[in-house]
């Protein structure tokens, strides 16, 4: 798989330090699941965390700290002798899961089939599937846009990330195919159009600050008059 559009360095640093909103974290993790280059890049960023741990401030642990954990391990050895073996055991289906069309971090949220999703019709050639997530003020959804469809030019009220899972689209930033991520800052304007023979399926996370209209409504306003 050849991926041309990768994570912004600032985003991968936020992923590495655990600072991404859950909706964006899912998109970033899904890209990472498909992109070895960015997985390696994240590892470098995490090494900064390793350095901070290694050379950062230390604190005395309680006097019986090791005795307590040791006691726990004794109990564990009796009750769950195979706990570690279970972690290590890689069931056969893992390789199927890892190579599925839906990246592993998304599978827990939408299952492993794009076609089996409950798609909501929004406009001719445009379908959406909302992904419910707790603990976020951002929204996460899937978009399926038919071949040849052009989206109205739109800007962003906040940060937006789009990951292509199937098909491709083009805009001023280039062509985005499977695995490519558009990690766009606010104030960016673009007009994507689907240039693949099949529909383009993406997963999108957007920040939706309440003072702004949602990007979806602005995006579709000219299409459906909402």
């Amino acid at each position: 798989m050849s991926i041309h559009h990768h994570l912004d360095d600032a985003s991968l640093m936020r992923y590495a330090s655990g600072d991404l909103d859950p909706a964006f974290c899912v998109i970033v993790a899904s890209h990472l699941a498909m992109c070895e280059t960015c997985r390696n890049a994240v590892r470098m960023a995490e090494a900064l965390g390793g350095d901070c741990l290694e050379h950062g401030p230390q604190a005395d642990v309680s006097a019986d700290a090791f005795a307590r954990i040791s006691h726990l391990l004794d109990a564990e050895a009796e009750n769950r002798p195979t706990a570690t073996a279970a972690v290590m055991e890689r069931p056969k289906e893992v390789s199927t899961q890892v190579n599925a069309e839906v990246p592993l971090p998304l599978q827990g949220l939408i299952g492993d089939s794009i076609d089996a999703l409950d798609w909501q019709w929004l406009a001719p050639g445009v379908h959406r599937h909302r992904i419910e997530m707790a603990g976020t003020s951002s929204s996460l959804f899937m978009l399926k846009i038919g071949p040849g469809r052009k989206m109205p030019e739109h800007g962003h009220g906040g940060v937006e990330m789009t990951l292509v899972l199937r098909g491709s689209y083009s805009d001023t930033f280039g062509r985005f195919g499977r695995g490519d991520i558009a990690d766009l800052d606010e104030h960016v304007e673009h007009q994507p159009f689907v240039d693949s023979a099949e529909a383009c399926v993406c997963v999108v996370a957007t920040e939706e600050p309440t003072q702004f209209k949602g990007v979806m409504s602005r995006l579709l306003q000219p299409l459906v008059g909402i």
């Binding site: 360095d9 640093m13 995490e46 700290a65 090791f66």
Partner: protein, 199 residues
Amino acid sequence: MLKALSMEETTEAPDERPEQSLHETLIADVASSKDRKAFEALFLIFGPKVKGMMLSSGASNDLAEDMMQEVMLTVWRKAALYSAGRGSVATWIFTIARNARIDRLRRQPVQPYVDVETVSIACEAPDAETRVIGSQNEERVREALELLPEEQKTVIELAFLKFMPQSEIAAKLDLPIGTVKSRTRLAYKKLKEKLEDLK
């Protein structure tokens, strides 16, 4: 001839610090034989560091102690999943601490991180020689951090040591978010140059 020479050079200059191989040996002993003594040694080295990190990110003493126990328990359970090819032991324990914090303090799903780890392991080249960021790079990371301008270093430490969100870093330093982002990018770029020098 040229090849022989370069091979000789690499064997003559082992770039590993002794304590790194100590960490790796201890983890390997825990992984292979559930060696309680090796685990105790790891606990004595990393327990105070993990607790210190939790305290500096704002946890109370009790919470920091509890999180440290949780992190070290995960180290014990997942020792067999550690791979030196993916980074140093300290970096691996950092990711466990980060995940524990996301799970417990931010009450956010940590599953995306776990899934990425699963993918990494599944895709890992069986050839152990291919160290993308091998643990021997630890010294390079240190050097890269030391060389950063103070303003970039501060941003990195707030993000990775205190786990401060980008928006809070901006507020604390009285900077626009964009400036925090660009300092983060610059710092990352320098780290990357330093590490890629090695290849």
